[in-house]
Each structure stands twice: as C-alpha cells, then as structure tokens.
C-alpha cells in the first residue's frame, strides 16, 4: 500500500544535534523511537530535577526562568518565569495544579507531537521543575484525543517515572511530592485556550474564563493553576541545568529572545518538516531547509505560526522569527511553524477555509465569535463563488475589526480576525473580484422607527 502511517519526524540527523545547541531534541534518535527512561537518564535526564529539588528554592527556579526569558511556546509568547512568579503561594493558599497544554490543534502545527511521542520524559522533567517552582500538588497533561500514539508514549513514561521515583512522594529524596495524570481530550480547538482548557479539564464545556482572576490565582477547581505548552516545559530542564545566560546565548545575535525553537514548514514545499533552530532564525533559512517551493512555484504569502497568525509576504522572509519582530510586522510568531502558499493558490479560499475552522471551533460563549464568524464564512463563500455584493468586502473589514482583541471574550476570534484582516490588506483584489452585483434592497429606506 502506498499510504503510510504517519510518524512524527525531525529533519535533523543525530549528528547535527548536540546537547549544547539543541536542548529540545539532542536526545532524539534517528529512527524516531521513543526515548525510554533508561536512555533518557543515560543522557543526563532528570539531572536537573535532582539538582534543583535538592539544592535550589522554588524562587531560584522562577528567577532563572525569568532571566532566561523562556517565552510561551504555545503561541502567546508570555514569559514562563513571569507567569510562575504570579502564581499564588503561601500560607492559606492551597497547593494547586500544573497543567501541560498538549492540545496541539493549531492549523499548520505539528511540533508538540514530536516531543510527546518521542521524548515524554523531557516534558515530565520540565513539569516537575514547574511544579516545584509553583508549589503545585498535582499535574495534568491535557492531550488532544487524536494523539493516540502520544498518549501511549506519555502514559508509559509516566508509569516509568513513577516507578523510578521521579513522580510521587519525596522526589529524588527532596521531600517534594508531585504526580501527573494524563487527561485526553475529546476534540475542540478551543481547549487549547488556557482557561477553556481548565474548564475542559474539570469535565465541563470548554468555555474560556474571564481574566482576572488569572489561573494562577484561581484556576482548576479554584486552586492556583499554571498552564504551559509542551515545548515551554521542555525548555525548563536545560535552562535549569545550564543557566539563563547559556539559554540566552543560544540565539546569539539573532534575537533578543533566548533559546531554540521547534520550527517547521508545511504547504507545497519540497521538504516539509521540523527543525530545532535558534529562535530568531529567519523564515528564509527555513524555506531553504525545506528546499523551496515545489515545482518551482513562487512564494505568494506565508503564515508564520499557524492559522491564527497574520499573513506575511515574501519580503518578510528575512525578518527574525521571534515574538517581537513578527509582532511588529502585524502578525504573530504563534507556534513558529510556517504555512506556505504558492502563487497559484487562492488566499480567498484559504481564508475561507481558516474562517470555517474558527467558526466551527468557536465555543459559542461570546457573541462576536459565535455569530460573527459564521457570517464571515458565508460572505467569504459568496465571494469565492462570485456571488458577492457591493459592500461585502467592507463588511468583512468591519467584521475583522469587530472580532479583534479586547472585543471578544478570549483570543479565539482575534486569532480568526488576524489572517482575515491581513489577507484583506495584502490580497484585497482577490476579495473584490468576488463582488458581482449591487446590494439588494430589502426594504424601504429609511425605516421609520421613531425616537426614544
């Protein structure tokens, strides 16, 4: 059979990856098999936990993480150390929860899958460090339901770690206790939003929650709760083992952000894939690693980090892929996995596809998202079919604006608005081509409604 089962694969060989430069992936094997406990421990695994839990205070961990400026790899880019410093701890405050967001569902994103399937112990080690820093009592790995292989790998690793005393009471003789349960989801992109994830963890509908209070004050079951992405946690052991300065130096001159990032490319390129590279690596290098576009096509546009980021143009390829630089371009780094669109492909159709996704995945809590996105989709479909009316493109402008940050309950609709707004900006002619007739008058104008 010509179709093969999907297996996550890094495009860098073992020879290329070293502990000093590839903190996330240096242990991975070329055959893509899971790194078991023994192999992980052989390769310095859990050394950071042993060291930190016995010799450092939780505040030390937070200080180091802050100094290293490990920014949230789920896409928002918020400093993990800062987040951890805001978690409520102390007398009268119950020990709370540490949750790993492994609900990878961002369109165009396939990075956490690699870490979960092939190196779950790194995640567990990172979570133990996080739990120590945040005084967490218990951890959950919130894994999307479709990641069946990852679930198997994580569960095995949890059992191994518990058996070896890395989870449970008195970890590494430090007196610190912490354990982790695997929680698998049942679909819905919105579960990736940290407060919706908490709702879902509690077995409820995954409606997000208003902030403040932040999860660090009142999260799962009202307890202080820390939610970080898989890749974020996976950075913690190396940061704690080698120090903040080492981490900062990994990206050298490329970026003010420190460390490495799992970058990737998908779309019609020669060699799609994943690479661990210093954060700030420009998009052009990624595209080169991917062998350029398939069939010699020209690049039309690209999304820097998933479906909820704004379109960028070929001219942006030399910019550093880090949170601030991409942010200044009017987009977001997001997950850092590039989606590439070639010259023949319709941005209008791609935007329609994206908005369909966001409309379907809306939790239905707030009005703009629940009712604004489906309208957006219908307008885009009309334009795609050449059935647009005059005013439709302007209406889309307005919708993109109304779905923006601060106007909706959570970041879901702003995430949907970003590709829409940027596509309307850069590829407006594609939209306008769909306008074929004047607006139909539904009724007399003006309607007498009186005054109050």
């Amino acid at each position: 059979m010509s179709v093969t089962r999907y297996h996550s694969q890094l495009r860098q060989s073992a020879a290329e990856r070293r502990a000093e430069t590839h903190p996330l992936t240096w242990r991975l094997r070329d055959d893509g098999a899971r790194i078991g406990l023994d192999e992980y421990v052989d390769k310095d695994g859990y050394a950071a936990v042993r060291e930190v839990l016995n010799r450092q205070s939780p505040d030390d961990v937070i200080a180091t993480m802050k100094e290293a400026n490990v920014r949230g790899r789920g896409g928002a880019g918020f400093s993990a150390g800062m987040k951890w410093s805001l978690t409520m701890k102390g007398p009268g405050i119950p020990r709370g929860y540490l949750v790993c967001n492994a609900d990878e569902m961002e369109p165009g994103t396939f990075k956490d899958r690699l870490l979960l399937e092939q190196q779950p112990h790194l995640l567990i080690e990172g979570m133990i460090l996080g739990a120590y820093a945040n005084h967490s009592r218990y951890g959950y790995i919130f894994l999307r339901g479709e990641y069946v292989e990852a679930a198997r790998a994580v569960q095995q690793a949890l059992d191994e770690a518990r058996g070896a005393g890395w989870l449970g009471d008195d970890i590494a003789g430090s007196g610190f206790d912490f354990d982790i349960a695997l929680h698998t989801g049942a679909g819905r992109y919105i579960c990736g939003e940290e407060t919706a994830l908490i709702s879902s963890l509690e077995g409820k509908r995954a409606n997000p929650r208003a902030k403040p209070p932040f999860p660090g004050q009142s999260g799962a079951w009202g307890k202080p709760t820390v939610v970080n992405n898989v890749e974020t946690f996976c950075n913690a052991p190396a940061v704690m083992a080698h120090g903040a300065k080492w981490y900062q130096d990994l990206s050298g001159e490329l970026s003010n952000d420190g460390g490495t990032k799992l970058f990737g490319v998908s779309g019609k390129v020669e060699r799609t894939g994943l690479w661990e590279l210093p954060i700030g690596t420009p998009g052009r290098e990624l595209l080169e690693r991917a062998g350029g576009l398939r069939d010699g096509k020209a690049l039309k546009t690209w999304l820097p980090g998933g479906g909820s980021t704004g379109f960028l143009l070929p001219e942006h390829l030399d910019s550093a892929l880090d949170f601030d630089t991409i942010g200044k371009l009017g987009s977001r780094l997001g997950t850092g996995l590039l989606t590439v669109v070639n010259e023949d492909q319709s941005v209008l159709s791609l935007v329609r596809n994206l908005e369909q996704f966001f409309a379907r995945e809306s939790c239905g809590w707030c009005t703009p998202c629940r009712d604004g996105l489906p309208w957006t989709v219908k307008l885009l479909q009309a334009l795609e079919r050449g059935e647009g009316e005059r005013g439709d493109v302007e209406l889309l402008d307005k919708l993109a604006d109304d779905l923006g940050p601060g106007k909706t309950f959570c970041a879901h609709a702003p995430g949907a608005a970003m590709p829409l707004a940027s596509a309307l900006q850069y590829f407006r002619d594609e939209f306008e081509r769909g306008v074929t007739h004047p607006p139909r008058t539904a009724h007399a104008d003006p309607i007498p409604v009186g005054q109050i």
Partner: protein, 167 residues
Amino acid sequence: MNDTARTIASDGFVIEPEDRRAIEHERDHYEQPQAACIEALKIVQRRHGWVPDAAIPAIAEVLGVGPADVEGVATFYSLIFRQPVGRHVILVCDSSSCFLNDYEELRDALSAELGIGFGQTTADGRFTLLPVCCLGACDRGPALMIDDCTYGPVAPGDVADLLEGFA
C-alpha cells in the same frame, strides 16, 4: 453511591461493571466527579461505538451530576458521537495545511468511494466520514485518521486501497 454491580438507568441502559469501574477510577484523578465526564463518555463510546440517549442519565448517575451536565459536555466535544457511527470512523483533516495540499480532492475521493458526505455513515455501517481539526500531520498532508491511526499523505488515488484494509 451504592455498589451495585451494574448501573441501570430508568430506561434500561446498562453501564457494564468493567466500564463503571473504569469511570470510577478516572473519577479519582480529580477533585470533582464532573471532571471524569468526558472520560466516562469515551468509555461508553468505546463499548457502544457511540453514546446513546439513555447513556446520558446513566453516566450522570455514576458521576452524581445532573443529566444536563453530561449532555452539555457530550454535545460540545466533537469526538463524542451522539449519533450511531460506522465500525470505522474516518476523520479527515480539513485545516489549512491539508487544504493547501488539496484536501478537497481527497474529501471528494472519499465521498465518491463511500457514497457518503461528512456526517454520514455508509449503508453497510462500515464507515462514518467526519472532518477534524488540524491533525498535526501538516508535513504529510493531506492527512486523515481512521480509528486510532493517522495516515498521510493520502492521494485521492490511494483511497480505495487504504479503505480496503478495514472490514
């Protein structure tokens, strides 16, 4: 909660003892029983293929929550099926990367091969076809998932061969 071996709801739905134990085991992982709701639905779904109406109050009873709580969750999540499904569920990734890799052709090929659209089940009860969020297989798009396995890339011409392996 009494310890009867089987939980029988008023309209006769039976949660098997093994499933009940599994649900209760899950319940212990969390501060509140409601948290095991999604897992409970999945456990029932594993046995029956889907979650029948009568299972809702039965699960509610095991968890000690209201049936509306369970139904609210069951109807929210896309991987909980509140309609009967085929023996194999095909989840076709319809997100951006697969879309750019001609997902629509794959979808049409599947529809043609099976004679059904999204949300439908073949007459022989073999397959149900559903769209799914980005499967995280973007480097090998277009991708799809059949039962517990993800495949990609799947060319339209591969569809017949691929489906043959599922009885």
